[in-house]
Symmetry: C2
Subunit: 352 residues, 2 copies
């Protein structure tokens, strides 16, 4: 990219116009002591007249802060578009960044390795002052890379996954347990879970919690399927779960996101099963979508926007050297809607 010929006004011009040195202008614009009110005013006046704002690039180079936070997301693009989670998360992050006039550098990558490379080059190139890491998986190379380079970072995920980085997380284990307990309390004894990508750390946590809850409640049947979070995968998983004959068929299904739950709803309809009479469905990551279906989808909801904001705040803490730590945020809570109910009297699909 070549620069465009624009008569750029620099600190020197402002200094000249205000009749002071560059240093004085710098002091004024960084609100540092050592200038009289009068001079300060003259400087701001001059800057305003010239329409000058400090060049962030130069400022960064000169050694102080970097007003940019990096976020690399590693998921197939097509999926990202669909999952309301990320945009909402980003918007939460933004809301805090904006307060501090920081910006977000975004990159979609294809693997955790690639992400580590991107982060490193951003850091080396002094492009970012900190980073946000999401979607931790088993054997994740990122924590080590970030540590080695000394990049201030905050990880989204349970501390057990994030290799000692500052972490912000929701208590998914408890939430899964709550979801299962709720369905059991409604009378369901055969419950399935359509989970996300198996390699993802939080999927493992949810899977383990589901097993444990199923065991402790002595459910008659418990199934788990791993998917890639896509609607198609959710549909496939649902179809395979529901094709079993009634005694071996789950009467309730928990999904790891809302897209898959929507897909599940369709599959049930297509198979002639009524929701919630024949099968109850429970979504995760409650978004507007859950209220737009018929029946509406019960969901484990949490405040994704607020979550993003908390992540950003934590990052600023880390950058300020306030140390790493674990920051749990509110556990997703159950929002019952129309897709969950006690299991109905057995009705054959054809009988609808």
């Amino acid at each position: 990219m070549t620069a465009t010929p624009l008569p750029r006004v620099t600190i020197k011009d402002v200094a000249a116009r205000a009749g002071v040195s560059k240093g004085a202008v710098s002091l004024a614009f960084n609100h540092k002591p050592g200038l009289s009110e009068a001079t300060r005013d003259r400087i701001f006046q001059a800057a305003r007249e010239l329409g000058w704002a400090p060049n962030l690039t130069a400022r960064t180079l000169a050694g102080s802060r970097v007003d940019v936070v990096g976020l690399a997301i590693c998921r197939p693009a097509r999926l990202l578009g669909l999952e309301p989670f990320y945009m909402e998360f980003v918007s939460g992050v933004e809301s805090v960044l904006t307060e501090r006039s920081c910006s977000l550098l975004l990159r979609l990558v294809r693997s955790a390795q690639e992400e580590a490379v991107v982060l490193e080059s951003w850091w080396r190139g002094r492009q970012i002052g900190g980073a946000i890491l999401v979607d931790f998986r088993d054997d994740d190379p990122r924590a080590a890379a970030v540590r080695r380079l000394g990049i201030p970072a905050v990880a989204v995920g349970h501390p057990s996954l994030t290799g000692g980085l500052a972490s912000v997380w929701t208590d998914d284990a408890t939430a899964v347990t709550e979801a299962v307990r709720y369905l059991a309390a409604l009378g369901h004894r055969r419950i399935a879970r359509v989970g996300g990508a198996a390699a993802l750390g939080h999927t493992s946590i949810r899977t383990a919690a589901f097993d444990e809850a199923a065991a402790s409640l002595k459910l008659a049947g418990a199934w788990q399927v791993a998917t890639d979070f896509s609607g198609d995968a959710g549909a496939r998983a649902t179809r395979s779960l529901l094709t079993a004959a009634p005694p071996d068929r789950p009467t309730a299904i928990v999904y790891d996101n809302d897209i898959m739950a929507v897909a599940g709803l369709s599959v049930a309809a297509e198979m002639g099963l009524r929701v919630p009479a024949d099968v109850s469905l429970l979504a995760w990551d409650d978004s507007q979508l859950c209220r737009l279906t018929r029946p509406t989808l019960s969901a484990m909801s949490h405040d994704v926007h607020g979550f993003g904001a908390e992540v950003a705040r934590t990052l600023f803490g880390v950058i300020a050297g306030e140390g790493d730590g674990s920051h749990p945020v509110a556990t997703p809570v159950l929002t019952p809607r129309g897709s969950t109910a006690p299991p109905g009297p057995r009705v054959s699909p054809a009988g609808v």
Copy 2:
């Protein structure tokens, strides 16, 4: 943000290790002539050994390119999360940026004014080498601001809206016409359109096209409602359209995005109307969502990812000084699915 103490390796270290001057290293890394193969190799070797990569900040300051593209999006956060469009668009943009090792600077803003301010400060601060502008509205201040500052930019939207900036656009007028013609061909004579935000330029274009198509086809009834693109608004609009008694009720509804169409589907169900027997629904911005509902949603689909990619390519063209211009991309095409059919024999809602 304070810098972390990291023994940063700079061009000087590389130069020393390779036994050359800083200038030579610079030449090598920019693939400029004036170095022997042997020296070049030694330099790269030294850089590899030290794990050095040029500091982009310094590089930018030194005057050449800026490897970052700015994108400020102005829509309510909650909505953004829901609309698959943006993430997919962004991913398309990214795919091209990545090829050129560029990054995307993202910011969510609340108004076009604020966006203009953000763009200006990015530009002044030398943070971006170009910008992408979306969602043009009537009386948009951004084109003027961008022109005044000389920011290389590409606008997403019909040339009539984008104030002379290079623009990339889909022919929405034709697409709307096609949608209406298709419904009319199925036998619909009373067609409604649930549009997006009235202030948005492309909404006006679609509105005008719809009117024109309705007139030229001599439809018996044509309605248009403006919304804010949210599912709730789509539901409200649909409800109000469908509460009319059959002769005054549309038999087909076109939506400006897919979320509203999904909402419309629910409302129809809730009112006891069958889709498509009693009312046909047609979505826009076809995403995976349209295939997850029951019935599946017919939609005007276009390749949003490819659209984003084209926008990025165009921006690089503008930056390279290849001049502004209008870049139409493929018109959305109709993808018929299960939600559209000839209007059925009149059935009273209660009769379902």
